[in-house]
């Protein structure tokens, strides 16, 4: 297929952007959850 590499690149980039976003959410969520736990412990004292 002519220009198949462009199609493949577009498709891969789509998934790369989605996975980077998903990964960024997961990382930020882990950080927020650990901060929340710390505050809960601090307030329980």
């Amino acid at each position: 297929m002519k220009n198949f590499n462009s199609l493949l690149a577009a498709y891969m980039i789509f998934w790369a952007i989605v996975f980077v976003f998903q990964f960024s959410i997961a990382r930020r969520q882990a950080r927020a959850e650990s901060e929340l736990e710390k505050l809960k412990k601090q307030l329980a004292k």
């Binding site: 002519k2 577009a10 789509f14 952007i17 989605v18 307030l43």
Partner: protein, 240 residues
């Protein structure tokens, strides 16, 4: 496991399977376009991402209206979640467009009305995210973002109309306002709507994950406020 969690696991599974099926349809079911060949298939990812982003920007405006009426933090969280997720899909549009344009037009980018207005929309929602980092007071921030999100949405119909009002380098519409003699092959149309359905479900999954993050941040902010309120009280007790 709560029923809500089970429901979202099912939605995630549906998103994964539907996206895989859409990938199959794009590569193996959609007919080959006679002049552009394989590169034309970028159209399915590009257009469905653009439409999904449009729906997402509408969610931002809707969340803004609901926040201004009800003043419940969950609408502010929904607004940021929709804005960030839609921005991701707009980024896909802005990246996949030039990948298609280079072999077809011979250039990556041109300041055509559709391309420029899409880029301006992207910048407007980047500004929306920046506004959130600039205002500390959470209620002021939520009101400001709600109002901004409503006004920013005015740009979305403008982007939609650019290829109908002005003749630029971007291809003319093949749906909703297509010129006589132009249009989309029925199989291509089916693959496009099928891919759009898949990206909408994927959008819902990502937006929900982003919403959960904002809900945790909201709870953290509230507890931090409680801790700060308690600290002076403890200090006052120890130093009467």
């Amino acid at each position: 496991m709560s029923p809500n969690r089970i429901l979202w696991l099912v939605v995630k599974l549906v998103a994964a399977l539907w996206m895989a099926a859409a990938g199959y349809a794009i590569f193996f079911i959609a007919p080959d376009e006679s002049t552009m060949h394989a590169v034309q298939r970028i159209f399915y990812i590009h257009v469905s991402s653009a439409w999904t982003a449009g729906v997402g920007f509408f969610c931002v405006a809707l969340a803004g209206v609901l926040y201004l009426i009800k003043r419940e933090p969950r609408y502010d969280w929904a607004g940021i979640a929709a804005a960030e997720t839609s921005l991701v899909f707009t980024t896909v549009v802005l990246v996949t467009g030039p990948i298609w344009a280079k072999p077809i037009w011979g250039i990556w980018w041109t300041w055509d009305p559709r391309l420029t207005s899409t880029f301006v929309t992207w910048l407007m929602y980047v500004a929306y995210l920046l506004i959130r980092t600039l205002v500390d007071d959470k209620q002021r921030r939520a009101v400001l973002c709600a109002v901004y999100g409503i006004f920013a949405f005015a740009d979305v119909p403008l982007v939609f109309m650019t290829i109908r009002w002005w003749r630029g380098q971007h291809p003319s519409p093949v749906l909703a306002g297509a010129q006589p003699g132009s249009g989309l092959d029925p199989t291509m149309k089916a693959v496009l709507f099928f891919t759009w359905g898949a990206t909408l479900v994927l959008f819902a999954v990502l937006m929900r994950a982003r919403f959960r993050l904002e809900a945790i941040r909201g709870e953290t902010e509230e507890l931090r406020q409680q801790a700060e309120d308690r600290a002076p009280a403890i200090a006052a007790v120890s130093n009467p």
